[in-house]
């Protein structure tokens, strides 16, 4: 009765249950998996505390939940317990008969409800609807005792994950993540607020670098060298990097402007940078008919790698507390210059999108290969056409340089961020899972 390695199902089988009825296998676990990720991406966008670091944390725990729910019913899969910081042995299926789809549904529905417990009325309504419909879907054709045992196992796994998550230092987010006050140091290189929004006069999540990582040992495991020394001397490296941003943004091609917008991934207006990569991976599960075990393995590694990327990145942002291009350029080069993108309300170095994209590319390349070509439909519903990539690294490189085109990062933050992402992503790649 264990549903292991569900193979050979067409992409239609993974169609969201909430879309108009189409032919589908009622209790394909991958449908459960992809539906919850689709809803989670919406909830990230529509829940006020879900800035990129917070979103990455949720995707990390959802990934582990999905993986462990499937692994609990598959003796061929290695649990992440003992491999991830602080994760102790999880419940397993044991001798009882379990259904993987029902276990997955029970685990993910409880975990998503927990991480998005603070979402608004429409999110709560959608959560309830998704739970009700997927509960009904997975129950079809199952003996009551099998359903009961499966739901119990899934709920136990979720409870274990939630207890583990609640003590990682990132569970409580107040004031939408913004510190209540901030006094910039006298150092001219220090970050200063760049927004006229009152709430954003202090940096976002200044302590995020101390959140417990998943796979890497500590927040400073992949620490970076310092950025170029601050200088207003036109012959300095720092000035040169600022001038590069200035000149590039003054002469943007349409394609460069499109790239900047495609990877903008603003919080509260999109599913954020980690959500962008989750969307891609979730979409690939359906489009490429990936096996269940590969799917949950990929989503777990991706979530873990990106969550750690934000912890490492934020560790160095706080360490160096570097000012943004708009501050320097307005001060030194052109007082009227404005970047194309909204400057994020926190320190510049390194680039978060670069770090997380390199971590994502590292993980996805490890799972699906070096030359895995794909199309990215993330922003199709918002009117931006899909973009095609020959590899995950091509996409990650584009995500990195998009921040220079957008006028919100210097080149060093992008290049060093990419290096940091590679380093952090390798820890997720090295996890033992399907062996």
């Amino acid at each position: 009765m264990h549903r292991r390695r569900v193979l050979g199902l067409g992409a239609a089988a993974l169609t969201a249950v909430l879309l108009p009825a189409r032919a589908q296998v009622a209790s394909d676990p991958r449908s459960v998996l992809t539906n919850w990720y689709k809803l989670s991406l919406q909830l990230v966008r529509h829940t006020a505390t879900y800035s990129p670091p917070v979103a990455s944390r949720a995707f990390g725990y959802l990934g582990v939940t999905g993986y462990e729910a499937v692994a609990a019913c598959d003796e061929g899969m290695t649990s992440l317990a003992g491999q991830l910081n602080g994760l102790t042995t999880l419940p397993r299926a044991g001798d009882g008969v379990h259904d993987a789809a029902a276990v997955l549904q029970a685990a993910l529905s409880a975990t998503v409800a927990h991480f998005f417990s603070n979402t608004g009325p429409s999110g709560q309504r959608a959560l309830a609807t998704m739970t009700r419909k997927l509960d009904a879907q997975v129950a079809q054709g199952l003996a009551p005792e099998v359903l009961r045992q499966s739901v119990g196992l899934g709920q136990a796994i979720a409870a274990h994950i939630i207890d583990w998550a609640d003590v990682d230092g990132g569970a409580v987010v107040e004031n939408m993540g913004f510190a209540q006050s901030y006094r910039p140091p006298a150092d001219p290189s220090a970050w200063v607020p760049t927004s006229l929004i009152r709430q954003q006069q202090a940096p976002l999540l200044p302590d995020w670098g101390r959140v417990r990582p998943f796979a890497m040992p500590a927040g400073n495991t992949c620490a970076l060298p310092p950025p170029p020394v601050y200088s207003e001397d036109p012959t300095s490296d720092f000035y040169a990097e600022a001038m590069e941003v200035y000149t590039a943004t003054k002469a943007l091609t349409d394609e460069q402007a499109l790239i900047a917008r495609f990877w903008s991934d603003d919080p509260m207006l999109s599913s954020t940078p980690p959500g962008h990569w989750i969307f891609v991976a979730n979409d690939l599960i359906s489009r490429h008919n990936l096996p269940l075990t590969v799917s949950v393995d990929m989503m777990a590694r991706l979530g873990i790698g990106m969550a750690d990327a934000f912890i490492g990145c934020w560790h160095d942002k706080t360490e160096y507390n570097l000012l943004r291009p708009v501050t320097y350029i307005n001060r030194v080069i052109d007082k009227d210059w404005k970047p194309l993108l909204i400057t994020p309300p926190f320190a510049e170095y390194p680039s978060g999108h670069s770090t997380v994209s390199a971590a994502a590319a590292t993980v996805l390349t490890g799972v699906l290969g070096e030359a895995f070509a794909y199309e990215d439909f993330t922003h199709e519903r918002e009117g931006l056409d899909a973009r095609s990539y020959a590899s995950f690294w091509q996409a990650a490189d584009e995500a990195g340089i998009s921040r220079l085109y957008g006028g919100i990062h210097f080149r060093s933050a992008i290049e060093q961020g990419m290096e940091q992402g590679r380093c952090i992503g390798a820890h997720a790649v090295s996890l033992r899972t399907l062996a």
Partner: protein
């Protein structure tokens, strides 16, 4: 030309800023009403303030959500305590989110537009506070949507006003409401009635609309404030409305700058009397106060945000220990202390158990000082209710020249406050013109006292599903006389007319 005048005329009046004292009289006034409902009524909750029986006192029509809408007859003694009596008027229908008063057929009797979850209904005023459905008689297609915004204006030569109606989420979308914004509609006159509504696409879940002459051109454009919670690829909008032409969005090439907020309400007035209105946009956390970056004949719709500089971000509760961000809804500029400077009221309230936003979220009353900076005064003024406010109206309900306040709360009692009086003098300006548009919607009213100029555009719409129909109120400070002139919708400019303070001045072309 007007810009030059500003430098001379903006000197502040001599009267010092005073905090008006409001007295809540909800219970003794007999205003017993609630806007109720679950998900489909998390937005909405409007009030229309207008005189329906010819006694010059504003009566109140309140949306009820799942409860029937209700009309309350104003029986306040002039200068005395507020008093209202519920009367059967014909508007008692369920599903009403918002109410706007307007004289659609220009017969001198105010009509009502009822925005609803379901079919919108236009109610013809019959006099003596009675109304009847007029959708069929006027050819008005009420549609079937979750309607949450309204604006009206008379296009040149039209016998009926053009009505813009903003719609929200697809109310039948249970699982994925995001991205399900339904079409906004433009109802334009066609013959003796209305033609089929024109879809204002793209539509992005509008919660407020306002026709405005934003650039002093004499032409009206339609501003739309949209809720970013539900749109995909959306932003704030402004539409061209040219005679005989289909509506057309302002574009980035024309200078329009993309802004994405939880847009919930629009208030406007010409704060600096330079000929160009400023716009206050309510949202969650920081609210926006927009002023044109550059004015003049070639002005483009490029707005800077001066909310922080002017002290009106109102981004979190100003009192209590709840430090979570605020949620703003109805906003209205009005001079509540009669010091000749527009103040700002903002209705506040959590959407619906959103734990990242303040639950105890007091309304704001921001009094403008001589330096143009607003100072929070709702606490000392006595209007800092922490019920879940939505719509509101700042209007003189007992004809004493001091503006009173009514607020509609979601799943809680509506509240009413009497302004117990302020020292400054005041003036009310009523516009009258023959034919269509009898009260001069679209006109600019200018009031001059000594070296101080106030300008306000006469509009129908905006706020959060709430509207006022009646004379415009201006504070005069210690001036005992004022000069008034009107720039009519057709461009005619009346002569300056001298009027005495503390009166209602009726101005005709």
């Amino acid at each position: 030309m007007i810009r030059a005048l500003v430098l001379i005329l903006l000197a502040a009046p001599a009267a010092a800023q005073t905090v008006p004292q409001f007295v809540e009289e909800t219970t003794p006034a007999g205003l017993e009403h609630s806007f109720a409902g679950e998900w489909e009524y998390m937005v909405g909750g409007g009030v229309a303030a207008f005189d329906c029986n010819g006694d010059t006192l504003p009566d109140l029509a309140l949306a009820g959500g799942t409860a029937p809408a209700a009309l309350f007859l104003n029986q306040s003694a002039r200068g005395g305590a507020l008093a209202f009596t519920a009367v059967v008027s014909g508007i008692e229908m369920e599903g009403v989110t918002g109410t706007y008063p307007i004289d659609i057929d220009s017969d001198g009797i105010t009509d009502l537009v009822l925005l609803r979850v379901g079919e919108n209904v236009v109610m013809r005023g019959l006099g003596n506070c009675r109304f009847e459905r007029a959708n069929e008689d006027w050819g008005f297609d009420g549609g079937d949507a979750w309607s949450t915004a309204f604006a009206a204006m008379w296009e040149a030569g039209a016998s009926l006003p053009t009505l813009a109606i903003g719609n929200y989420i697809n109310q039948r979308e249970e699982a994925y409401p995001w991205g399900s914004c339904t079409e906004n509609w433009l109802h334009r006159p066609d013959g003796g009635g209305y033609g089929a509504p024109v879809a204002l696409t793209p539509s992005h879940c509008a919660l407020s609309m306002l026709f405005t002459d934003w650039n002093g051109s004499g032409r009206k454009s339609l501003r739309v404030s949209n809720d970013r919670e539900y749109y995909e690829g959306g932003q704030e909008q402004m539409w061209h409305l040219e005679p005989g032409q289909p509506p057309r969005l302002y574009t980035e090439a024309e200078g329009w700058k993309r802004l994405r907020i939880w847009g919930m309400g629009i208030a406007s007035t010409d704060l600096d009397a330079d000929g160009y209105p400023e716009f206050y946009l309510t949202s969650m956390a920081d609210n926006k106060l927009q002023r044109l970056v550059a004015t003049g004949p070639d002005a483009t719709p490029d707005y800077g945000d001066i909310a922080w500089a002017r002290g009106v971000t109102a981004h979190r509760p100003f009192m209590g220990d709840d430090l979570r961000p605020s949620t703003g809804w109805h906003a209205q500029f009005a001079d509540v202390n009669n010091d000749a400077r527009a103040d700002l009221f903002v209705a506040k309230g959590n959407v619906w158990e959103m734990p990242d936003f303040a639950m105890a979220d007091p309304n704001n009353l921001l009094l403008q000082g001589a330096d143009g900076v607003f100072v929070e005064s709702a606490g000392t003024a006595g209007v800092a209710s922490t019920l879940a406010a939505r719509g509101a109206a700042v209007v003189d309900m007992n004809a004493d020249g001091a503006l009173d306040l009514v607020v509609v709360n979601r799943n809680g009692p509506a509240q009413i406050w009497r302004n117990a009086g302020v020292a400054g003098n005041w003036l009310k300006v009523a516009l009258e013109q023959p034919g269509p548009n009898p009260t001069g919607i679209g006109a600019w009213v200018e009031v001059r006292t000594k070296d101080h100029l106030q300008r306000h555009e006469t509009t129908s719409g905006g706020g959060h599903v709430s509207g006022i129909w009646g004379p415009q109120h201006f504070g005069l400070g210690d001036a005992d006389r004022a000069e008034v002139r009107v720039i009519w919708p057709d461009g005619q400019v009346s002569d300056w007319a001298e009027v005495a303070a503390n009166t209602v001045a009726t101005i005709s072309p």
